[in-house]
Amino acid sequence: MACDPVSNCREAKSFETDLLGDSLPGDRSVNSKFFAWIDSVGGYLVLLGDSLVLGQAVPESNVDIPVLADIQRRHLLISRSHGDYLIEPFAEVRINDQPVFGKSLLKHSDRITIGRELNVVFSQPHVLSDSARLDIRSRHRTRPFSDAILLMAESCVLGASADNHVVCPGWSRDVLLFRDGPQIKCRSMQAFAVNGRFCDGQAILRPNCRVEGEDFSLSLEQASA
């Protein structure tokens, strides 16, 4: 899978300003994030930042990953560094039933138990991409609801095959979301339209845009803190 090389981390901030515009909240700890609503597939919370805080979803919370669960308001930090993901617990966290106290490395398909009940599985499904995915396996949910959380590094692959970041049954071609400098772009072998404009292979995605192809459609929605 050919992906554009990473034009990493800090540049994401410019997408953030693009995405959030003037309504950018004062709290700079909130990294840029958006929802990918993929028709017939699911809704995904996509996070672009390199360090992300997971905590309890309470009205005044401004963590990156708010979860409705019996956990601390700021429970842990996940950070990405050179393709590796490190977890830093602020409260009770176990990985594969082993308690962790300091920074530890996350591996593909690690089961993270946060607090007593919240169960999250960490995975890096695509071998050529550093992006990771968090799936809540216990009866908890993010707020707003999402089917999974995507920690997007340089790219996310959506498509029918099982090793994609989002498995989309029935899609004839993969759809690639990737960063190009400050922008998020979309690429696919099949013709598609962004907000009604046909694109030949590649297009820039803006906040709140609609992408439609022959056998797929999805919307990006900026997520408020």
């Binding site: 028709d39 017939s40 007593r116 009866r139 009604g196 439609e212 919307s219």
Partner: protein
């Protein structure tokens, strides 16, 4: 507003759906499939913001949406048959059961479109789970899913509702509560619809459709059938009836026995019973089916349920959900199986209440070329009649007889109050009366025949035109003829497997029997019509008549025996029959000369006509040419082999015999062959071959089919 979007070029529109509208206009052809009318952020229904499309079903689109207060819901957009659909949903609006997706509200937007607001169930569907286990799900999982589905269905049935569209895509595992829920009930299905873009429903639906649905019967047995298919699919990873097209799948539902070799014996038995073609032979309730399954400690569960029957379904769900202990280990929690949740199990369906047919008024069901009006019995019906009456919408009274069909006359013959000998006497008496008075009846009959032919022709033309019109608009294309063909093919296959010597002995028996019948009929004719003819030449005439009929029937019997294993090409058969007819004519002519029969009986109608000169000799007796033309045409025109087919509709079809008599008379008129004797000849031949050939009773046909399947 909408048009504004069309002028936007590089500018990003304020509202994504505006651009979406534009896209729809620009490229309707190339982006047809799986499109949702509304995109994320749209608010077609006040108070709700669409987030994403979940799926498109036969009824319309389903969206995940969030209301202004933050409540997550699923919104179902009802696009067609608004009133019928919404009535069905309204009926289910207050149903409460753990294993049913809760319906919250029915709303109409400002454009008059109907929306059903219901519980959003996050989590995988049974279809996802089945796909994950291509060789079958683990038994414990199957039990978990199946027991939960059964309970949901049972609750529907207990409330007089038939789900009608049970399939893996309609069953979900709620990941928040770890509870299995059935969705999509209360919507009337199977009504052919012309959906946008000519989109057809996914073939998947057809895998779960009971055979009687084609007839417009929607009893709760169709849910039992679907449960059987589901069970089989969960255990083996595949559905019992699969095919390339929906027609093929429907055919298999109708005719084929399921291949259950992959199932363990207890399951095989249950699935086989649930998939019985005859709805009455299936389990009559979900509980009966559950009780037969080797699932866990079923008996104990039933006992527990009885103990807890005080807490019934009505308050079951809310209390259960709220009573969910906060600290349960989600992995080990057994939410469905806890005893407090188990609704009481009634061994029998609630007394007296028949399943309710949603939209219990007249509605049109279009299945391919068959157009029928279905009037379902209402829920108040005191009678036990479960199957809705199916009536044909348009059938000219005569055409109803079709090809030896199901007319009132035939019904009387099959099941009237008179005994069979009396009936035969009556028929012979009427025939005698008709023959004696043929002078004035025949012209009228011929006129009526001509009229009928005209009506039939018109109807056939209408029949050819109609399906092509409806074909484009229906998703289920299934003609009765196609179904019949498949059934027929299977039955004939059983004949092909019969040993040759058995079939030969059958034929010999038929030949002897037909000779006997003809002898009897000849004597009868002689008594009625011959005015006790005593002269030797007069007697010889009747011997000639009997021998000719015997020859004709023997020819038919032999050819019919050869042809019975295949349906064959009509034209070729007609030509072969004509050849046989010419042989009969030649032999018959020789016999008449040899016997010196008094052929003056066969005085022509009008000796002055030009044709008569070739057809009759100086004495008025028919020439060889007359014999050849008469027998040849009679054998060409009538499809005699159908009367000796062991799979004909009835043993003795009065209708077929009547057709033979009519044709014989018409040909007699045309070729100046004496009408009365022509008609008698036709009647004798037809009656004798029908009585002499074996006939397989419909019930036996069914058994034949089943036996064949078991042998395999």
């Amino acid at each position: 507003m909408v048009n504004k979007a069309a002028t936007l070029d590089n500018v990003v529109p304020d509202h994504p759906h505006l651009a979406n509208e534009k896209l729809k206009k620009v490229n309707k052809e190339t982006l047809p499939r799986r499109r949702f009318t509304y995109a994320s952020g749209d608010r077609p229904l006040a108070g709700y913001t669409i987030k994403r499309g979940i799926g498109v079903g036969g009824f319309g689109e389903v969206y995940f949406a969030i209301n202004d207060a933050g409540k997550e819901v699923a919104l179902k957009r009802i696009q067609k048959n608004l009133d019928v659909e919404l009535r069905g949903v309204k009926h289910c609006l207050n149903l409460k059961h753990v294993n049913l997706i809760t319906l919250w509200d029915i709303r109409q937007d400002e454009h008059g479109e109907g929306w059903v607001v219901m519980e959003y169930v996050p989590g995988e569907s049974l279809r996802d789970v089945v796909e994950k286990h291509p060789a079958g799900m683990p038994l414990a999982e199957v039990e978990r899913w199946f027991v939960a589905i059964s309970r949901g269905v049972r609750h529907l049935h207990q409330n007089g509702i038939v789900h009608r569209d049970l399939k893996p895509g309609n069953v979900f595992r709620d990941q928040d509560q770890d509870i299995i829920k059935i969705g999509d009930y209360g919507l009337s299905k199977f009504i052919a619809s012309n959906r946008r873009d000519g989109q057809t429903e996914s073939v998947g639906t057809f895998h779960y459709m009971a055979p009687e649905i084609g007839k417009g019967v929607y009893g709760k047995e169709i849910d039992i059938y679907a449960l059987g298919i589901l069970l089989c699919e969960m255990l083996t990873g595949r559905v019992p009836f699969d095919g390339e097209s929906c027609q093929e799948i429907m055919m298999k539902h109708l005719t084929e026995d399921p291949d259950l070799s992959g199932l363990e014996p207890p399951f095989r038995r249950v699935v086989r019973k649930a998939l019985a073609k005859d709805p009455d032979r299936r389990y009559s309730t979900v509980d009966e089916m559950l009780a037969d399954l080797p699932f866990g400690d079923q008996k104990q569960r039933v006992a527990e349920a009885d103990k807890n029957s005080g807490r019934n379904d009505l308050n079951g769900q809310p209390s259960v959900v709220s009573a969910e202990p906060v600290g349960t280990d989600p992995v080990n929690a057994e939410p469905i199986e806890t005893s407090g949740r188990v609704p009481p199990i009634h061994p029998v369906m609630i007394n007296g209440i028949q399943p309710f047919y949603i939209g219990d008024d007249q509605k049109e069901i279009v299945l391919g070329e068959v157009r029928e009006i279905v009037r379902a019995e209402s829920v108040h019906s005191p009678s036990g009649a479960r199957a809705p009456q199916v009536r044909s919408a348009f059938r000219p009274p005569v055409a109803a007889n079709g090809q030896g069909g199901d007319s009132a006359l035939v019904d009387w013959w099959r099941g009237g109050t008179l005994s069979m000998p009396l009936k035969i006497l009556l028929v012979v008496g009427i025939a005698g009366f008709l023959l004696l008075n043929s002078a004035w009846i025949l012209p009228i009959a011929i006129l009526a025949g001509g009229l009928y032919a005209a009506v039939y022709l018109l109807r056939s033309i209408a029949g050819w035109l109609e399906p092509t019109a409806s074909r484009s608009s229906t998703s289920i294309r299934l003609s009765k003829r196609q179904m019949a063909d498949i059934v027929d093919e299977r039955l004939r296959n059983t004949l092909r497997l019969t040993h040759f010597s058995d079939r030969m002995s059958d034929l010999t028996g038929s030949l002897l029997l037909s000779t006997g019948v003809i002898s009897l009929l000849t004597v009868l004719t002689m008594t009625v019509l011959g005015q006790l003819e005593t002269s030797p030449r007069g007697l010889a005439f009747f011997v000639w008549l009997g021998l000719s009929a015997t020859l004709a029937s023997s020819m038919t019997l032999v050819l019919g025996k050869i042809w019975e294993t295949h349906r064959g090409d009509h034209l070729r058969r007609r030509l072969s029959m004509m050849t046989a007819g010419l042989m009969v004519a030649g032999l018959s002519f020789m016999i008449s000369r040899f016997l010196l029969a008094d052929m003056s009986q066969l005085v022509s109608v009008d000796p002055t006509l030009p044709l008569t000169r070739a057809m009759a000799d100086a004495n008025g007796a028919p020439t060889l040419a007359a014999f050849l033309t008469f027998f040849g045409s009679l054998f060409l025109v009538v499809r005699w082999w159908r009367q000796v087919d062991p799979f004909r509709r009835t043993r003795l079809s009065v209708w077929s015999a009547g057709i033979c008599v009519l044709w014989a008379a018409i040909i007699g008129v045309v070729f100046q062959f004496p009408i009365v004797w022509a008609a008698v000849f036709g009647l004798m031949t037809s009656a004798s071959i029908q009585l002499a050939t074996p006939w397989i009773h419909p019930a036996q046909r069914l058994r034949l089919q089943q036996e064949e399947a078991i042998d395999v």
